[in-house]
């Protein structure tokens, strides 16, 4: 195996990696500002950059949607409301290389002709990751990378860092926009999509991008889209990706690996294998909303398209390795308690479904369940899918179905009949 490319994490181990003096002089921004905005978007299309927040939507395509709109102003909103259980990569970016993200943010705004941008951090980050980011933004203003007439290009950009108040649902892009506008985080009915007039921030065309997605912009501009795309191991999934590895592994942490690396390689080559005395039992491949994988399925590639054909998802790149000590019914009960708590309550199938599933699973793990309860969990989960405004219900149903389908014995061991 060749040495893994370090693109996003290149500076992470340097002392004071979050300072402008360590990061350098925004060379990619200088190059970008000499290009036509459309040429930047074309480069991003070529790079096969897929949104790193969870959906894996092609970033270049999203930006082309926004560019086609004729309504101004246009906005770029950054989703830094990291909250999917298992995910902790954006926090690391903000703590360790905020300038890479800020540079990508400026390039993104230039590409879609946006002059006012908001970074929406989760509230808990206020005194830590968000402070780092705010310092980086301040440094960028001082150095003339933000503000009026950036590097004498006649491009103006104002960037604001704002924060939420603790709601998982605000990681959903339209709920995030609602929250940013000062309301409770109820996802909006789509269409109109945020990229279209009427659907975005203050009803204007808006690109909502994840922190990691934008942090990829400087390397894409630097090396060119095609070169960047080749870093990925599978077609249509360009670049490297930050995998947030947690659970029963020797070295949990954020690792940069090529898109499409197998879960086995990620575990063995990066995370140091399972901890002493552990054997791998299950893998959560992309945050707790994704369908569970068994140990045998660790050979699957981790890109968006492969996992979609396998009926799970690459999601936010949060990989949780669980060992033999975990009873999957208990794990599902834990996951479901989260969704029951975080369901915003707008759609009935989700509000009632998640709470019902959680009650049933609590009953099962307390030893009071019957076989029919397990069947009911599966049945209810199926009834919840594709019936709600946002994907939270699907995110709760996917684990519920898959845990039972793949680890039925764990459930049966706890129930009567």
């Amino acid at each position: 195996m060749t040495a893994p490319a370090k693109i996003l994490t290149a500076d992470w181990d340097k002392p004071e990696s979050w300072k402008l003096s360590t990061y350098g002089k925004y060379e990619a921004l200088k190059k970008a500002l000499k290009m036509e905005p459309q040429a930047i978007v074309d480069e991003v299309v070529k790079s096969n950059l897929r949104g790193r927040g969870g959906a894996g939507f092609p970033t270049g395509m999203k930006w082309n949607f926004v560019r086609k709109e004729t309504s101004f102003p246009k906005y770029l909103v950054v989703n830094a409301d990291e909250g999917e259980p298992g995910t902790f990569k954006d926090r690391e970016i903000l703590l360790r290389s905020p300038h890479m993200f800020v540079e990508g943010l400026i390039i993104g705004c230039y590409a879609i002709d946006c002059h006012l941008t908001y970074v929406y951090c989760r509230g808990e980050f206020r005194e830590s990751a968000m402070k780092r980011l705010q310092d980086a933004v301040d440094e960028a203003y001082e150095a003339g990378y933000l503000g009026k007439n950036i590097l004498k290009s006649k491009f103006d950009l104002e960037a604001h860092v704002v924060y939420g108040a603790g709601a998982y649902i605000c990681g959903e892009e339209t709920a995030l926009l609602e929250s940013l506008e000062g309301r409770k985080g109820y996802p909006r009915l789509k269409p109109p999509f945020p990229a279209n007039a009427g659907g975005g921030l203050f009803k204007q065309p808006t690109a909502v991008n994840n922190v990691e997605t934008l942090a990829n912009l400087p390397p894409i501009i630097g090396m060119g889209g095609e070169e960047y795309s080749k870093l990925g191991l599978t077609p249509k999934n360009g670049g490297t990706r930050l995998f947030a590895v947690s659970g029963h592994v020797k070295k949990p942490g954020v690792y940069e690996a090529p898109m499409g690396i197998t879960f086995k390689d990620l575990l063995e080559q990066y995370a140091g294998g399972m901890r002493e005395g552990s054997t791998l039992k299950a893998i959560i491949p992309g945050g707790s909303s994704s369908a569970i994988m068994t140990a045998e399925e660790a050979v699957w590639a981790s890109d968006f398209d492969t996992l979609k054909t396998k009926k799970t998802m690459a999601g936010s790149g949060a990989v949780v390795y669980l060992d033999q000590s975990v009873n999957m019914a208990h794990a599902l009960a834990n996951v479901m308690r989260f969704y029951a708590h975080e369901s915003c309550g707008q759609c009935t199938p989700c509000r009632e479904g998640t709470a019902w599933l959680s009650r049933l699973l609590d009953k099962i793990v307390a030893g009071n369940g019957e076989k029919v309860d397990v069947d009911n969990v599966h049945q209810i989960a199926r009834q919840m899918e594709m019936k709600t405004i946002c994907a939270l219900a699907d995110g709760a149903a996917m684990p519920a179905k898959s845990y039972i389908e793949k680890f039925r014995a764990d459930f049966d061991a706890l129930v009567r009949g």
């Binding site: 005194e127 975990v326 308690r337 915003c344």
Partner: protein
Amino acid sequence: MRAAMIPLATRAGAVESPFNAEQQRRFDEGFEKAVARYPAERRKAALLAVLHLAQDELGWLSEPAMAYVGHRLDVPPVRVREVATFYTMYRLRPVGRQVIGVCNSISCWSMGSEKILHHCEKRLGIRHGETTRDGHFSLEEVACLAACGGAPAVLVNNFTFHENVTPESMDALIDKLRGDPGKPMAPGPTPRIPLHSVEDQATPQGPKALGGAEGSLGRPAVSTAVEAGSTEKKP
């Protein structure tokens, strides 16, 4: 227009500021900054930030505080309440001056967050969702903190992260926090205080609410080795 709205959260009449002079100065300063982030005609969008400002000063969001925030931003009281009740970081009644939140989501759970939570319960003599009688500590469960690499993770006072927590490091943290008086909490209704000893928790009978405390204190009977926690709803 505003006068026609029913000021649900206030006594009839003028909306008074809940702050003293020093608090008012800090609040006003933060208010100007928060509002300046948005286009002039969109200043209501600063509602979340302004509620945070009020809570920073008072420790929790009292009805007069919410009414005052609504008044300053020209947002109807019902909209302010809607937001304040939706987000978990806003406190709707006083809590301890040191609030310990133990993450209960999947990565932390798999690394033994329940043990940490029980350790805290025993150490502090309260269950999660409660406040010690002296008003110093509150204990709560929190949802994923995006610190899964350092599981189990603990959040203190909404903003401070502690990672790779063990029972020993938790003891050290509790001792440190015990010596820290924390920010004063504006007066208000009594926080949820313990009505039973924590050792009783294996036999939950759900004592009826006494005094000012509310809600069911019983927890589901759990007989298995890995005890299930519960995600606490807001009071």
